[in-house]
Amino acid sequence: MSELIDKLRVDFKNEEYRHSYAEECLNATIATQLKVLREQRGMTQEKLAEKAGMKQPRLSVLEDANYANWSISTLKRLARALDVALSVKFEAFSEVILDFEEMSRNSLERLSFGDDPVFLFKNVRTSRAFRRRRHAFNDAERIALQGKQMNLFSAEIKGWPAQEPSSRSESNAEDAAMVGMSLGQHGRRQDATSVGSVG
């Protein structure tokens, strides 16, 4: 069970509290993902701002977790500049909290259209089951990159859902694309920290 949800269980019974908390969570997530996506592409704030038709100081403000006055239209401009789709969804509070708790650089990175293997190659697995599995692979890869469990890394590759590719060369290309995609996501989960106060 999530430690954070346990902490929030009582407070979230208050409508004002849970909506204020979730709004802060949204602001922080937007700022963090903008920064992560920009860094994933090796772009400076100046470069991304230029592509999105805004000034660098404006982008700097949007990458601040304390900023709350962003708009959907601004995010759409940034999505276009980053060559990703913008997805806006209504969610249950539990989903928001669990996603936030598990948030990492890895979980926030997204491929540009030009790097997306689903559009690059035929026969790339797109089932929901596989997409879930792909995230599990990313976690295994993260552990492997930390030099702890290389075997787990290999086992996850072998364990992908089988689907017969139309040709051998296409199969190789597909696997290469998948491995390349995952190796591009070097997120590290931060170690939990403790917070205290002077009594």
């Binding site: 929030l8 208050n14 204020s20 908390y21 922080a28 948030m103 170690d191 403790s194 917070v195 002077v198």
Partner: protein
């Protein structure tokens, strides 16, 4: 900190709790500008936006690099810190804490004595 936060409005308290949870779960590396400098070395502030802006002061450690200690509950009213000179007061608390580490206690949320 707990008695200070118990006097806050629900909305402000929710925002403050979120920032504390960010620190506890993700530290300062992943989420940009979770803490801001104060102009006084080693003292940072959490920024909680609202009509009255909360600016609780804290430091890293001071004993280790993966914990934080709140030193003072402060707020900002019309761009003025209340209490005035809050970063300096926090810096003095930090010095006191280095000498007397047992004064440090686990964070407690308002209303509930949940330790984080």
């Amino acid at each position: 900190m707990r008695s200070w936060s118990e006097r806050l409005q629900v909305k402000e308290r929710a925002k403050l709790d979120f920032k504390v949870d960010v620190l506890a779960i993700h530290g300062t590396q992943l989420i940009p500008n979770v803490v801001s400098p104060t102009g006084v070395s080693s003292i940072f502030k959490l920024k909680v936006q609202g009509q009255v802006k909360l600016r609780p002061m804290l430091c890293e450690g001071p004993g280790d690099a993966i914990s934080f200690t709140f030193l003072l509950g402060a707020k900002e009213v019309q761009f003025e810190l209340v209490p005035s000179g809050a970063p300096e007061i926090a810096a003095n608390y930090r010095k006191d804490l280095v000498v007397h580490p047992t004064r440090r206690c686990l964070h407690e949320r308002a209303n509930r004595q949940t330790k984080s």
